[in-house]
């Protein structure tokens, strides 16, 4: 089966010279959920921004059989739905309904159809009562769901979520896990939260300084790299003798 | 400095509404050509920033503090034309949501702060050719001085009774606020340069003759306003009496009254000439902007 995402030898350098991605190879198959792990600045977010053409590096990025470039940008962006880390940056319209309808309207739907699609997506995430609310009035969890609805309404084949548990309390995280579990799309989840990753992903990749250094079953990857950033492993336990 | 409703006489607020609508309309047309719609979120967010920034206190001594107005800062970072639009939007939201400034008087406030204030504020920057501290300071200073003085003139012409003492203290207050604005703008621009030099526009690249002319006009308007207010407030009030005190003459044009009026003092004639001249400069600039704008699109 052809992968829905195929990345070969991806390299990207920022304007100030930092090599953010250094020869990344990756593939994602339909229905798979993969966790993207790694420290801050290791290239995770830069990597996902290459997938829908927001950033363009060197190498090959193929989404659903289409190379990612300017000509295919519109099509690729309806195949990949991206939920960003900061929901306030994603919910930029005055009301939830208008924001969720943004995608379909850009895809060329008529206003009435866009509104219908938006309502259905909001129902899917359990936010159908918040149609006319301003984003300012929503909680962090509700904002995340509304952002997800805004992406689902474009009927993508792949979902990318960048640190989706940021600002969410445990109940909201649980709610998100249940919601994502039901969705059939292939998912790429960038996260620091290993428990969240384990709850959803079967496979994980680990980024380090712009290179993808590990790709395998999630338990293995986490076990292998947990010592990198696990606080327990860092042994910060207080004791009467070792108080700072 | 935000003029509320029912302070300006009808000829004054109506004329300024008309002038502002044309000035802002012209700017919108320019901006639609040079700025893609994708820039609008940035401008909106910058507007929210200025709004929020007006809440931050800058200690100036003796327990008082000043606040940023923002016209010059916006001009130096996002450019003069976008700055006009952003300031207009800020003033409109202040008028409607915060009732800070009148709705009918919005034209006057937009003219003072969003048009003249921004143009005068960007002028030193455009002229100097580089982002020197002096240019930035002068921008902030001229921006607030011009808008404050014009507001005062408009109130006086409308016949708002202001004893000399109040006029002089207002003029003094505007001068002090202008100095504060200059200092704050410099402080923020310097801090911005340290964070990311790209935030501050390089005037050399965005420099164009039109902006320098318009900016100069703004400075002249504001400066003349300042001088008139500080030296001849009575003359302006007398002028106002001829123009628009009683409700019955509200819907006649100011010019009709000039012809009919008895000008006893030479001062009054001079003040009249000064004001007419200012309005003419404004009209010429607006026409000039339109002509230059058309030529550029060819």
């Amino acid at each position: 089966m052809t992968p829905v995402i195929e990345v070969r030898d991806l390299r990207f350098r920022y304007e100030d010279g930092t090599q953010a991605l250094d020869g990344v190879n990756f593939s994602l198959h339909a229905g798979e959920t993969v966790a993207v792990l790694g420290a801050n600045g290791s290239g995770k977010t830069t990597f996902v921004l290459q997938l829908n053409g927001i950033l363009q590096g060197e190498g090959q990025v193929i989404v659903c059989g289409l190379p990612v470039n300017k000509e295919n940008a519109a099509t690729v962006r309806s195949k990949i739905g991206m939920v960003f880390q900061d929901s306030d940056e994603q919910l930029f319209m005055p009301t939830v309904l208008e924001d969720v309808a943004f995608g379909p309207l850009n895809q060329g739907c008529q206003p009435a159809e866009a509104i219908e699609k938006a309502k259905r997506a909001l129902q899917q995430v359990g936010m159908e009562h918040s149609l006319n609310k301003a984003p300012y009035h929503l909680s962090a969890g509700e904002k995340r769901k509304a952002a997800l609805a805004g992406v689902l309404t474009m009927q993508p084949e792949i979902l990318v979520l960048d640190e989706p548990t940021t600002f969410l309390d445990p109940p909201a995280q649980l709610s998100l896990v249940h919601l994502l579990h039901e969705l059939p799309q292939a998912k790429l989840i960038v996260t620091h939260d290993t428990r969240f990753a384990c709850a959803l992903a079967s496979r994980a990749v680990f980024f380090e300084k712009g290179k993808l250094v590990t790709d395998g079953p999630i338990e293995e990857v986490i076990q292998r790299y947990d010592w990198h950033y696990s606080l327990l492993a860092a042994d910060l336990r207080y004791s009467a003798q070792r108080r700072f | 400095m935000h003029i509320p409703d029912n302070f300006l006489s009808t000829p004054v607020w109506a004329a300024l509404d008309a002038i502002s609508i044309s000035a802002v309309g012209l700017t919108v047309r320019r901006a639609s050509r040079d700025l893609p719609e994708s820039n609008i979120p940035l401008l909106g967010v910058m507007g929210a920033f200025v709004f929020a920034a007006q809440m931050i206190n800058f200690p100036v001594g003796a327990g008082t503090s000043g606040h940023l107005v923002g016209g010059a800062l916006l001009a130096a970072t996002i450019g003069p034309a976008p700055a006009v639009l952003v300031m207009t939007t800020i003033l409109a939201i202040q008028a409607f949501v915060f009732q800070d400034g009148g709705v009918l008087a919005l034209g006057a406030n937009v003219f003072n702060m969003a048009v003249v204030g921004v143009l005068a504020g960007s002028w030193p920057f455009q002229l100097w050719g580089r982002a020197s501290t002096a240019a930035v300071f002068a921008g902030g200073f001229l921006s607030v001085l011009a808008s404050g003085s014009l507001a005062l003139i408009e109130l006086l012409i409308s016949g708002v009774r202001m004893p000399r003492l109040l006029v002089y203290s207002s003029v003094g207050l505007f001068a002090v606020n202008a100095l504060i604005e200059g200092a704050i703008t410099v402080s923020v621009v310097q801090a911005l340069n340290k964070l990311n030099p790209g935030f501050v526009q390089k005037p050399g690249t965005a420099r164009n003759r039109l902006l320098i002319v318009l900016g100069a006009a703004g400075v002249v308007l504001g400066g003349a306003g300042f001088l008139l207010a500080s030296s001849a407030p009575d003359a302006i009030q007398n002028l106002g009496q001829t123009l628009g005190m009683s409700a019955k003459t509200n819907f006649t044009t100011p010019m009709a009254n000039y012809a009919a009026g008895n000008f006893e003092s030479a001062w009054l004639r001079r003040a009249t000439a000064g004001l007419t001249g200012l309005l003419l400069i404004c009209a010429i600039c607006a026409a000039g902007a339109r002509m230059i704008g058309r030529r550029r699109s060819v």
């Binding site: 519109a74 962006r77 850009n106 | 609008i40 401008l43 709705v103 402080s187 340290k194 019955k248």
Partner: protein
Amino acid sequence: MHHVIVDQWSQGKSPLHARDPRAKIFVLLVFLVVLATTTPDAGVTLIIDAAVLVSGILLAGLPLMGLLLRAATILPFSLTFGLITWLAGDLWRAIALVEKSYLSTVAVLLLVGTTPLPRLLRGLEALGTPRVLVLLAQFLYRYLFVISEQAQHVRVAAVCRAGGSSEHRRGRFRAAGGALAVLFARSYYRAEGIYRSMLARGFGGHFVLLNPLRFGALDGGFAAALVALLVMARIT
């Protein structure tokens, strides 16, 4: 904060809230012009205008005392000028100045208290306001709350670090400038994030907006009746 309260009021439900924003804007403008052109001695006109406003507030279900108190922010300014005008010998003009400026403020507050700002902006656009300005205002308002909160935090942080003595005034001044620069930078990067979200959802260079405004017979009747009342009160 003021805009938070007004925003809450505007989310209410009442016959006045339900009216098309274009009708309400039009009526407001007529009201303001009528008020502005009312001569100082026309006391009855002013009473009728005030009555219209009070009935509006009650019909909209807004807190009467709360709204009247919020409008009182204009009073320091207008009372000062009123006092000066009175001392200059023109009592009627002074009273009219204070009354009229207060009523204007109440009228504007009534409009925004019964119309959520995004809807008001749709109305303004439908009445001819350039799209650029409407979109600008929409984004400004959307992020006003968020960035104001950030500004509060930045302000508190600056105060916590302030020296207090006048020798440190220059330092505090510079710190405030730095705080503003940080706020600027955060706002700028936020705008970049917004742009990326727009791109990710297929933004093609032009905002396509929903236009849910529908001007009905009720709106027409409302506008016509009020305009007639106000103009009659002014003329007679």
